[in-house]
């Protein structure tokens, strides 16, 4: 019974549809130095970028798979992945100019509608590159630069050169090396001094082709006193073969600025999602990662913040939902490198139908970092006995003035809660949906309203067939 329902849940994944594959350029599967060079040449990149790519490629080849995380990693077949696929000749500014099938897909995903209502700018990436991009004129007039990363490199090579790999060196881990070698697409965002961008800007990543590898690269720089709220979403069709999504995101928050980066990851259950996200926070700045992981086969992602300047603040709020056959290995890393820096980490996970969620966290306080404060809360909710949740917290506290709080809890849905809700007319499924939404509420309330509603709806769908 449970088996069957879980199958249904997977079939029910509402973004699992796909378009006919139409490519203007499609590389054969597999990775070699030639593939890396071809990507760079195709994009007409400066020499220095080609060189970084090549170095990163060799590094990728040498590095072993991460030892932590999951056994599932070993199943990745790098030779079967397609490393570059161009599906549209140009990045359009007008949805009408985007090829019809692709435009339809984004319409089904509700992107153009959201853009009109409440977004300051949108990048829509399909396979390897952005097919649509736009930013509100008033933001452009204030000097905000929002481009897809390929255009960013073309138009602002100096800025990109200065910051590219400055936060996440390609040698950081095997997947950061892979991304640096074959990156394509992603966002480039610069907010000038003192500019507050109130409307969120959004990037949406869609994989359509089978065996696709998507390797976007994002760089966000908030200049002194600037403020930005960046949101990203992602989905893919459901296929029986695997796809790989391996992104790198680098954030630079200069003095007094605030960057909030929100993600709702809802990949189909055949996608490996192996992402490195890290930000550097200078004096009195704030970096917030709001990270929701609902989909994918395996996610390994630990948004990190380096608190480099005095008084900087880090906030990581994350939720993970692990259903049948899913492993969400997520967490947060915060490095207190300067005095009076503060951090808050809230992690919530739900495991169901044999799904597995792990919290993997690192908190570091260096000897120089006096009077730091940090609070870490990890809550796990397990919906059935087959499912699993683990916590792997690491603390390296090198300064005795640090004030550290750490709480962890694992709970089950109580029969009394279900009975109470059912006695108010809710079916068991609806009751479970309410409890699950409530559990994630500290996360959802941080999202823009439209996202919160969508996420709650998604979770309610996930709960259907969750009673076995």
């Amino acid at each position: 019974m449970a088996e069957e329902n879980a199958q249904n849940a997977i079939v029910d994944y509402q973004f699992g549809f796909h378009d006919p594959e139409t490519a203007t350029i499609r590389f054969d599967s597999g990775l070699s130095e030639k593939v890396v060079r071809d990507i760079s040449e195709l994009k007409g990149e400066p020499e220095w970028m080609t060189e970084i790519r090549i170095k990163a490629f060799h590094r990728f080849e040498q590095m072993p798979m991460p030892k932590w995380g999951s056994d599932i990693l070993e199943q990745i077949d790098f030779d079967s992945i397609i490393y570059f696929l161009r599906s549209s000749e140009k990045t359009e500014k007008n949805w009408d100019d985007v090829p019809k099938d692709i435009r339809n897909t984004f319409e089904r995903l509700g992107i153009p509608e959201a853009e009109q209502k409440w977004l300051g700018g949108v990048t829509a990436q399909y396979e390897s590159e952005a097919v649509y991009h736009s930013i509100r004129e008033d933001l452009e007039a204030q000097g905000v630069i929002f481009l897809d990363m390929d255009s960013g490199l073309k138009q602002y090579p100096e800025i990109v050169k200065k910051y590219f790999c400055s936060v996440v060196p390609y040698s950081d881990n095997k997947f950061a090396a892979l991304n640096t070698a074959v990156w394509s697409g992603g966002s480039f965002l610069y907010i000038p001094k003192g500019v507050h961008v109130e409307m969120p800007v959004q990037a949406y990543f869609r994989i359509n082709a089978k065996n696709m590898g998507q390797f976007e690269r994002t760089l966000i720089i908030a200049d002194e006193g600037a403020k930005i709220n960046y949101v990203e979403g992602c989905t893919a069709p459901t296929y029986s073969t695997d796809s790989l999504h391996s992104a790198v995101v680098e954030l630079i928050a200069l003095e007094g600025s605030t960057i909030r980066y929100s993600t709702i990851q809802n990949w189909s259950a055949n996608v490996y999602n192996l992402v490195t996200k890290r930000g550097v926070a200078h004096a009195n700045s704030t970096i917030e990662w709001v990270d929701g992981n609902i989909g994918s086969k395996l996610t390994m992602k630990y948004p990190a913040i380096l608190l480099r300047g005095e008084g900087a603040h880090a906030e990581v709020i994350s939720v993970a939902y692990a259903g049948k056959g899913q492993h969400q290995d997520t967490g947060a890393k915060v490095h207190h490198l300067a005095p009076n820096t503060t951090s808050n980490i809230l992690s919530k996970s739900i495991s169901k139908h044999g799904g597995r969620s792990s919290y993997r966290g690192l908190l570091q306080v260096t000897p120089k970092a006096d009077q730091c404060r940090s609070k870490i809360v990890c809550d796990a909710l397990i919906l059935d006995p087959e499912s699993r949740s683990d916590t792997y917290p690491t603390m390296e506290i090198g300064n005795s003035t640090a004030d550290i709080e750490h709480e962890a809890s694992v709970s089950k849905v109580s029969g009394d809660q279900l009975f109470y809700l059912m006695s108010r007319g809710h079916t068991e499924t609806e009751a479970m949906g309410l409890i699950v939404n409530g559990f994630f509420e500290p996360f959802t309330r941080e999202l823009p309203m439209e996202y919160a509603v969508e996420l709650n709806r998604l979770l309610e769908l996930e709960m259907e067939g969750s009673i076995g």
């Binding site: 809660q417 109470y420 059912m422 007319g425 409530g438």
Partner: protein, 248 residues
């Protein structure tokens, strides 16, 4: 002709193999208020839970009919949608679920999708909250989370008023209430009794001064051992349960 809401015949109930209710009979008609009194552990909450369909309790023999239909075949949510309401002795916390959202979804579940427009719902909510002297700020709080004992009971009664039950089971709704709250809650209960059958579980006569019972039942060791009018409550308050013990 009186309209029968609930009819319990020779009910036996066990939990974990231990018999708690041991042959209980009770008939409640529309418009009637029945009070059940009895010592701690007598089985009063068990009775209320069993009527509502709590899965932990097993009916080993006897029958319960609700509005003329045998209850076994109905799931908890179906009972609720058919107009049964239980005000819990110990309402549970639902973390992260806002009272406002919860009430809206519950009204929708019980009274039907298009019974109320959002506007009508808000108006009704406002009216009932003011009847219960509840502040609007409750709507933004999480269900029962950090609520005082009395606040929890007010929220139970607010739910009852919104869900418009045909059978209201009130399990110690008066416990822990201050004098003003008792009056407010009694007003709430009285506002549904003409259209509903009502089972009021209580330890104290003071609620029954405000909510006039048609019958008072004394429950001892899983059975109703005595039934009387409202004067019985006063007698129990005065003399305790001992004088009835032999009857059990």
């Amino acid at each position: 002709m009186s309209e029968e809401v609930l009819c319990i015949e020779n009910l036996h109930v066990s939990v974990d193999g231990i018999e708690i209710i041991k042959g209980l009979n009770l008939v409640i008609n529309k418009g009637e208020v029945h009070a059940i009194m009895g010592r701690n552990g007598a089985g009063k909450s068990t009775l209320a839970n069993v009527i509502m369909g709590h899965p932990a309790y097993e009916i080993t023999s006897g029958t319960i009919h609700y509005l003329g239909r045998a209850l076994e075949e109905f799931e908890v949510f179906e009972r609720a949608r058919a107009g049964m309401f239980l005000s819990f002795q110990y309402p549970v916390v639902i973390p992260g679920v806002q009272v406002g959202t919860f009430l809206r979804k519950s009204v929708k579940a019980v009274r039907g999708d298009d019974s109320l427009s959002p506007r009508q719902f808000r108006a009704e909510l406002r009216e009932k909250m003011s009847l219960l002297e509840m502040d609007r700020s409750f709507l933004g709080r999480y269900v029962n989370d950090g609520f005082s004992g009395g606040e929890k009971k007010r929220l139970e009664i607010l739910q009852m008023l919104l869900l418009q039950p045909k059978l209201a089971l009130l399990d110690e709704t008066d416990s822990g209430l201050d004098i003003d709250a008792l009056r407010v809650i009694a007003d709430g209960i009285n506002s549904v009794t003409t259209d509903a059958g009502c089972l009021v579980i209580t330890h104290y006569q003071r609620l029954l001064n405000h909510v006039q019972p048609d019958f008072v039942h004394v429950m001892i060791d899983g059975k109703i051992v005595k039934t009387g009018g409202s004067e019985l409550a006063g007698k129990l308050e005065e003399k305790g349960y001992e004088w009835l013990e032999t009857a059990a």
